[in-house]
Symmetry: C2
Subunit: 147 residues, 2 copies
DNA sequence: GTTTTAAATAATAATCATTCTCATTTACAT
DNA sequence: ATGTAAATGAGAATGATTATTATTTAAAAC
Protein backbone atom coordinates (compact mmCIF):
# COMPACT_ATOMS: atom_id res chain seq x y z
CA UNK A 1 0.00 0.00 0.00
CA UNK A 2 1.57 3.25 -1.12
CA UNK A 3 1.30 6.35 1.06
CA UNK A 4 -1.97 7.97 0.09
CA UNK A 5 -0.86 11.50 0.97
CA UNK A 6 2.08 11.18 -1.39
CA UNK A 7 -0.24 9.85 -4.05
CA UNK A 8 -2.62 12.76 -3.51
CA UNK A 9 0.19 15.29 -3.77
CA UNK A 10 1.40 13.65 -6.95
CA UNK A 11 -2.05 13.91 -8.51
CA UNK A 12 -2.41 17.57 -7.60
CA UNK A 13 1.07 18.26 -8.94
CA UNK A 14 0.13 16.69 -12.27
CA UNK A 15 -2.99 18.84 -12.52
CA UNK A 16 -0.88 21.96 -11.98
CA UNK A 17 1.88 20.86 -14.35
CA UNK A 18 -0.64 20.34 -17.13
CA UNK A 19 -2.48 23.57 -16.42
CA UNK A 20 -5.74 22.10 -15.22
CA UNK A 21 -7.87 23.88 -12.66
CA UNK A 22 -7.94 22.65 -9.11
CA UNK A 23 -11.67 22.29 -8.66
CA UNK A 24 -13.17 21.03 -5.43
CA UNK A 25 -14.49 18.00 -7.29
CA UNK A 26 -11.09 17.11 -8.71
CA UNK A 27 -9.35 17.41 -5.38
CA UNK A 28 -11.98 15.27 -3.67
CA UNK A 29 -11.69 12.68 -6.43
CA UNK A 30 -7.90 12.68 -6.04
CA UNK A 31 -8.39 11.94 -2.33
CA UNK A 32 -10.61 8.96 -3.07
CA UNK A 33 -8.34 7.66 -5.83
CA UNK A 34 -5.18 8.10 -3.78
CA UNK A 35 -6.51 5.47 -1.41
CA UNK A 36 -8.50 3.37 -3.91
CA UNK A 37 -9.53 1.03 -1.12
CA UNK A 38 -10.76 -2.16 -2.75
CA UNK A 39 -10.13 -0.99 -6.32
CA UNK A 40 -13.44 0.88 -6.65
CA UNK A 41 -15.57 1.08 -9.75
CA UNK A 42 -17.03 4.38 -10.97
CA UNK A 43 -20.27 3.97 -9.06
CA UNK A 44 -18.43 3.32 -5.80
CA UNK A 45 -16.26 6.39 -6.34
CA UNK A 46 -19.37 8.39 -7.15
CA UNK A 47 -21.07 7.24 -3.93
CA UNK A 48 -18.01 8.06 -1.84
CA UNK A 49 -18.14 11.62 -3.19
CA UNK A 50 -21.85 12.03 -2.53
CA UNK A 51 -21.29 13.12 1.07
CA UNK A 52 -19.14 16.08 0.14
CA UNK A 53 -20.72 16.76 -3.28
CA UNK A 54 -24.39 15.81 -3.37
CA UNK A 55 -24.90 17.52 -6.72
CA UNK A 56 -21.87 16.06 -8.41
CA UNK A 57 -22.47 14.53 -11.82
CA UNK A 58 -21.44 11.02 -12.82
CA UNK A 59 -19.95 12.52 -15.96
CA UNK A 60 -17.55 14.52 -13.82
CA UNK A 61 -16.32 11.33 -12.21
CA UNK A 62 -15.72 9.72 -15.60
CA UNK A 63 -14.06 12.81 -17.04
CA UNK A 64 -11.63 13.20 -14.21
CA UNK A 65 -10.83 9.57 -13.63
CA UNK A 66 -9.83 9.49 -17.30
CA UNK A 67 -7.90 12.73 -16.87
CA UNK A 68 -5.86 11.23 -14.04
CA UNK A 69 -5.44 8.06 -16.07
CA UNK A 70 -3.99 10.12 -18.93
CA UNK A 71 -1.35 11.40 -16.50
CA UNK A 72 -0.51 7.84 -15.47
CA UNK A 73 -1.95 8.57 -12.03
CA UNK A 74 -4.67 5.94 -12.22
CA UNK A 75 -4.66 2.35 -13.41
CA UNK A 76 -7.83 1.13 -15.10
CA UNK A 77 -8.77 -2.53 -14.95
CA UNK A 78 -11.27 -3.37 -17.67
CA UNK A 79 -13.56 -6.37 -17.37
CA UNK A 80 -15.86 -8.15 -19.82
CA UNK A 81 -18.91 -7.16 -17.78
CA UNK A 82 -18.07 -3.49 -18.33
CA UNK A 83 -17.73 -2.66 -14.65
CA UNK A 84 -14.20 -1.36 -14.76
CA UNK A 85 -12.20 -0.87 -11.58
CA UNK A 86 -9.63 1.78 -10.73
CA UNK A 87 -6.46 2.02 -8.69
CA UNK A 88 -4.92 5.41 -7.96
CA UNK A 89 -2.88 4.07 -5.08
CA UNK A 90 -0.63 1.87 -7.20
CA UNK A 91 -1.13 3.23 -10.71
CA UNK A 92 1.56 1.04 -12.27
CA UNK A 93 1.23 -2.53 -13.59
CA UNK A 94 1.08 -5.09 -10.82
CA UNK A 95 -0.61 -8.47 -10.39
CA UNK A 96 -4.15 -8.70 -9.07
CA UNK A 97 -6.03 -11.54 -7.46
CA UNK A 98 -9.74 -11.35 -8.16
CA UNK A 99 -12.52 -13.29 -6.48
CA UNK A 100 -15.08 -14.40 -9.06
CA UNK A 101 -17.78 -14.66 -6.37
CA UNK A 102 -17.59 -11.35 -4.48
CA UNK A 103 -15.47 -9.40 -7.00
CA UNK A 104 -12.92 -8.54 -4.33
CA UNK A 105 -9.56 -7.52 -5.77
CA UNK A 106 -6.33 -7.67 -3.80
CA UNK A 107 -2.67 -7.04 -4.60
CA UNK A 108 -0.40 -9.99 -3.84
CA UNK A 109 3.30 -9.45 -3.29
CA UNK A 110 4.99 -11.58 -5.92
CA UNK A 111 8.28 -11.44 -7.75
CA UNK A 112 8.59 -9.09 -10.71
CA UNK A 113 7.69 -9.85 -14.28
CA UNK A 114 10.72 -8.07 -15.66
CA UNK A 115 12.40 -11.18 -17.07
CA UNK A 116 9.21 -12.33 -18.74
CA UNK A 117 8.60 -8.88 -20.24
CA UNK A 118 12.07 -8.90 -21.78
CA UNK A 119 11.55 -12.38 -23.14
CA UNK A 120 8.27 -11.33 -24.77
CA UNK A 121 9.88 -8.27 -26.34
CA UNK A 122 12.67 -10.42 -27.78
CA UNK A 123 10.31 -13.04 -29.19
CA UNK A 124 7.67 -10.75 -30.68
CA UNK A 125 9.58 -7.67 -31.75
CA UNK A 126 7.09 -5.53 -29.83
CA UNK A 127 8.15 -2.55 -27.78
CA UNK A 128 6.48 -3.53 -24.52
CA UNK A 129 5.08 -0.57 -22.61
CA UNK A 130 2.99 -2.15 -19.92
CA UNK A 131 1.32 -5.38 -18.92
CA UNK A 132 -1.50 -6.79 -16.91
CA UNK A 133 -1.57 -9.95 -14.84
CA UNK A 134 -4.74 -11.11 -13.13
CA UNK A 135 -5.36 -14.29 -11.23
CA UNK A 136 -8.97 -15.36 -10.87
CA UNK A 137 -10.24 -17.58 -8.13
CA UNK A 138 -12.30 -17.77 -4.98
CA UNK A 139 -11.21 -15.98 -1.83
CA UNK A 140 -11.10 -17.72 1.51
CA UNK A 141 -14.16 -15.79 2.75
CA UNK A 142 -16.27 -17.06 -0.12
CA UNK A 143 -14.81 -20.57 0.16
CA UNK A 144 -16.00 -20.94 3.76
CA UNK A 145 -19.42 -19.39 3.09
CA UNK A 146 -22.38 -21.74 2.92
CA UNK A 147 -24.01 -21.90 -0.48
CA UNK B 1 -1.59 -22.78 -33.08
CA UNK B 2 -3.79 -25.69 -32.11
CA UNK B 3 -5.27 -27.91 -34.81
CA UNK B 4 -8.52 -26.23 -35.81
CA UNK B 5 -10.22 -29.46 -36.90
CA UNK B 6 -9.64 -30.95 -33.47
CA UNK B 7 -10.95 -27.78 -31.89
CA UNK B 8 -14.04 -27.89 -34.09
CA UNK B 9 -14.71 -31.52 -33.20
CA UNK B 10 -14.31 -30.70 -29.53
CA UNK B 11 -16.87 -27.91 -29.76
CA UNK B 12 -19.38 -30.10 -31.56
CA UNK B 13 -18.82 -32.86 -29.00
CA UNK B 14 -19.59 -30.43 -26.18
CA UNK B 15 -22.82 -29.35 -27.85
CA UNK B 16 -23.91 -33.00 -28.09
CA UNK B 17 -22.81 -33.86 -24.55
CA UNK B 18 -24.87 -31.00 -23.16
CA UNK B 19 -27.87 -31.78 -25.31
CA UNK B 20 -27.79 -28.66 -27.46
CA UNK B 21 -29.03 -28.76 -31.02
CA UNK B 22 -26.53 -28.74 -33.85
CA UNK B 23 -27.87 -25.82 -35.83
CA UNK B 24 -26.21 -24.65 -39.01
CA UNK B 25 -25.41 -21.36 -37.30
CA UNK B 26 -23.70 -23.04 -34.36
CA UNK B 27 -21.61 -25.29 -36.54
CA UNK B 28 -20.51 -22.39 -38.72
CA UNK B 29 -19.66 -20.38 -35.61
CA UNK B 30 -17.65 -23.30 -34.25
CA UNK B 31 -15.69 -23.32 -37.51
CA UNK B 32 -14.84 -19.65 -37.19
CA UNK B 33 -14.00 -19.91 -33.49
CA UNK B 34 -11.89 -23.03 -33.94
CA UNK B 35 -9.51 -20.94 -36.01
CA UNK B 36 -9.99 -17.57 -34.23
CA UNK B 37 -7.49 -15.98 -36.59
CA UNK B 38 -6.41 -12.70 -35.01
CA UNK B 39 -8.56 -13.11 -31.90
CA UNK B 40 -11.71 -11.72 -33.53
CA UNK B 41 -14.30 -9.53 -31.84
CA UNK B 42 -18.02 -10.20 -32.20
CA UNK B 43 -18.42 -7.92 -35.20
CA UNK B 44 -15.59 -9.66 -37.05
CA UNK B 45 -17.09 -13.06 -36.32
CA UNK B 46 -20.47 -11.78 -37.46
CA UNK B 47 -18.99 -10.52 -40.74
CA UNK B 48 -17.19 -13.81 -41.38
CA UNK B 49 -20.54 -15.60 -41.08
CA UNK B 50 -22.38 -13.20 -43.38
CA UNK B 51 -21.34 -15.11 -46.52
CA UNK B 52 -22.92 -18.35 -45.37
CA UNK B 53 -25.72 -16.82 -43.27
CA UNK B 54 -26.81 -13.43 -44.63
CA UNK B 55 -29.83 -13.34 -42.32
CA UNK B 56 -27.99 -14.36 -39.20
CA UNK B 57 -28.66 -12.19 -36.16
CA UNK B 58 -25.98 -10.57 -34.04
CA UNK B 59 -27.82 -11.91 -31.00
CA UNK B 60 -27.21 -15.43 -32.26
CA UNK B 61 -23.49 -14.77 -32.40
CA UNK B 62 -23.48 -13.43 -28.83
CA UNK B 63 -25.67 -16.25 -27.53
CA UNK B 64 -23.51 -18.98 -28.97
CA UNK B 65 -20.12 -17.46 -28.29
CA UNK B 66 -21.22 -17.33 -24.65
CA UNK B 67 -22.53 -20.88 -24.88
CA UNK B 68 -19.16 -22.12 -26.09
CA UNK B 69 -17.48 -20.04 -23.43
CA UNK B 70 -19.62 -21.74 -20.76
CA UNK B 71 -18.21 -25.08 -21.97
CA UNK B 72 -14.67 -23.72 -21.68
CA UNK B 73 -14.37 -23.87 -25.47
CA UNK B 74 -13.79 -20.16 -25.93
CA UNK B 75 -11.61 -17.68 -24.10
CA UNK B 76 -12.98 -14.17 -23.77
CA UNK B 77 -10.62 -11.22 -23.50
CA UNK B 78 -12.40 -8.19 -22.07
CA UNK B 79 -11.11 -4.69 -22.66
CA UNK B 80 -11.96 -1.30 -21.17
CA UNK B 81 -13.29 -0.07 -24.49
CA UNK B 82 -15.88 -2.83 -24.48
CA UNK B 83 -14.71 -4.44 -27.70
CA UNK B 84 -14.04 -7.89 -26.34
CA UNK B 85 -12.04 -10.43 -28.31
CA UNK B 86 -12.39 -14.19 -28.51
CA UNK B 87 -10.14 -17.18 -28.90
CA UNK B 88 -11.61 -20.61 -29.61
CA UNK B 89 -8.33 -21.97 -30.88
CA UNK B 90 -6.55 -21.81 -27.54
CA UNK B 91 -9.39 -21.50 -25.03
CA UNK B 92 -7.14 -21.80 -21.99
CA UNK B 93 -5.19 -19.06 -20.19
CA UNK B 94 -2.09 -17.99 -22.07
CA UNK B 95 -0.18 -14.73 -22.44
CA UNK B 96 -1.11 -12.22 -25.11
CA UNK B 97 0.83 -9.42 -26.69
CA UNK B 98 -1.40 -6.57 -27.78
CA UNK B 99 -0.53 -3.65 -30.06
CA UNK B 100 -2.08 -0.47 -28.70
CA UNK B 101 -1.98 1.12 -32.16
CA UNK B 102 -3.55 -1.49 -34.48
CA UNK B 103 -5.11 -3.71 -31.79
CA UNK B 104 -3.35 -6.78 -33.17
CA UNK B 105 -3.15 -9.62 -30.65
CA UNK B 106 -0.59 -12.39 -30.87
CA UNK B 107 0.34 -15.37 -28.70
CA UNK B 108 4.01 -15.40 -27.66
CA UNK B 109 5.66 -18.66 -26.64
CA UNK B 110 6.88 -18.05 -23.11
CA UNK B 111 7.49 -20.25 -20.10
CA UNK B 112 4.57 -21.25 -17.93
CA UNK B 113 3.15 -19.26 -15.05
CA UNK B 114 2.66 -22.35 -12.92
CA UNK B 115 5.17 -21.37 -10.23
CA UNK B 116 3.76 -17.87 -9.92
CA UNK B 117 0.21 -19.19 -9.68
CA UNK B 118 1.18 -21.44 -6.81
CA UNK B 119 2.95 -18.59 -5.06
CA UNK B 120 -0.13 -16.39 -5.37
CA UNK B 121 -2.37 -19.15 -3.99
CA UNK B 122 -0.05 -19.58 -1.00
CA UNK B 123 0.16 -15.87 -0.25
CA UNK B 124 -3.49 -14.95 -0.67
CA UNK B 125 -5.38 -18.05 0.42
CA UNK B 126 -7.36 -17.91 -2.84
CA UNK B 127 -8.16 -21.01 -4.82
CA UNK B 128 -6.77 -19.89 -8.16
CA UNK B 129 -8.84 -21.11 -11.10
CA UNK B 130 -7.46 -19.19 -14.02
CA UNK B 131 -5.39 -16.16 -14.89
CA UNK B 132 -4.77 -13.61 -17.57
CA UNK B 133 -1.50 -12.10 -18.67
CA UNK B 134 -1.39 -9.38 -21.30
CA UNK B 135 1.56 -7.38 -22.51
CA UNK B 136 0.78 -4.06 -24.18
CA UNK B 137 3.08 -2.37 -26.61
CA UNK B 138 3.62 -1.41 -30.20
CA UNK B 139 4.19 -4.05 -32.86
CA UNK B 140 7.06 -3.82 -35.33
CA UNK B 141 4.67 -2.99 -38.20
CA UNK B 142 3.34 0.05 -36.36
CA UNK B 143 6.81 1.05 -35.15
CA UNK B 144 8.10 1.37 -38.75
CA UNK B 145 4.97 3.10 -40.01
CA UNK B 146 5.17 6.81 -40.70
CA UNK B 147 3.00 8.93 -38.42
C1' DG C 1 -11.54 43.00 -4.03
C1' DT C 2 -13.79 43.07 -8.85
C1' DT C 3 -13.95 41.82 -13.35
C1' DT C 4 -13.02 38.82 -17.08
C1' DT C 5 -12.89 34.62 -19.49
C1' DA C 6 -11.69 30.16 -20.66
C1' DA C 7 -12.36 25.90 -18.52
C1' DA C 8 -15.20 22.83 -15.68
C1' DT C 9 -19.49 21.26 -14.05
C1' DA C 10 -24.42 19.45 -13.87
C1' DA C 11 -27.93 17.59 -16.23
C1' DT C 12 -29.26 14.96 -19.59
C1' DA C 13 -29.23 13.13 -24.26
C1' DA C 14 -26.59 10.11 -27.33
C1' DT C 15 -23.79 6.14 -28.22
C1' DC C 16 -22.34 1.54 -28.41
C1' DA C 17 -21.72 -3.18 -26.96
C1' DT C 18 -24.44 -6.50 -25.08
C1' DT C 19 -28.72 -8.76 -23.44
C1' DC C 20 -33.58 -9.49 -23.56
C1' DT C 21 -38.21 -10.35 -25.63
C1' DC C 22 -41.16 -12.62 -28.42
C1' DA C 23 -43.07 -14.22 -32.75
C1' DT C 24 -41.44 -17.45 -36.06
C1' DT C 25 -38.64 -21.26 -37.51
C1' DT C 26 -36.16 -25.55 -37.00
C1' DA C 27 -33.70 -29.79 -35.14
C1' DC C 28 -34.69 -33.97 -33.96
C1' DA C 29 -37.35 -37.44 -31.28
C1' DT C 30 -41.45 -39.98 -32.03
C1' DA D 1 -44.50 -36.95 -41.55
C1' DT D 2 -45.65 -34.76 -37.12
C1' DG D 3 -45.12 -32.61 -32.63
C1' DT D 4 -42.58 -29.98 -29.52
C1' DA D 5 -39.14 -27.77 -27.10
C1' DA D 6 -35.28 -25.22 -28.39
C1' DA D 7 -33.12 -21.86 -31.43
C1' DT D 8 -33.26 -18.03 -34.39
C1' DG D 9 -34.13 -13.21 -36.29
C1' DA D 10 -35.53 -8.74 -35.55
C1' DG D 11 -35.57 -5.23 -32.93
C1' DA D 12 -36.35 -3.21 -28.25
C1' DA D 13 -34.14 -2.71 -23.69
C1' DT D 14 -30.22 -2.21 -20.78
C1' DG D 15 -26.18 -0.39 -18.74
C1' DA D 16 -21.74 1.66 -18.93
C1' DT D 17 -19.61 5.36 -21.06
C1' DT D 18 -19.26 9.63 -23.86
C1' DA D 19 -21.01 13.90 -25.87
C1' DT D 20 -23.67 18.19 -25.68
C1' DT D 21 -24.86 22.51 -23.85
C1' DA D 22 -26.29 26.00 -20.69
C1' DT D 23 -24.56 27.44 -16.32
C1' DT D 24 -21.02 27.99 -12.93
C1' DT D 25 -16.38 28.73 -11.32
C1' DA D 26 -11.12 28.95 -10.85
C1' DA D 27 -7.80 31.87 -11.33
C1' DA D 28 -5.56 35.49 -14.03
C1' DA D 29 -5.81 40.50 -14.96
C1' DC D 30 -7.02 44.65 -13.36
Amino acid sequence: MADSNERYESMVRKLKEHGYKLTHQRLALARVLSVSEGHPDVETIFLRLQDSFPTMSLATVYRNVMLFKSFGEVLELGFPNGRNRFDGNKPFPHPHVICIRCQKIIDPDVGSLKDMTEEVADITGFVILTHRLDFFGICSDCMTEKV
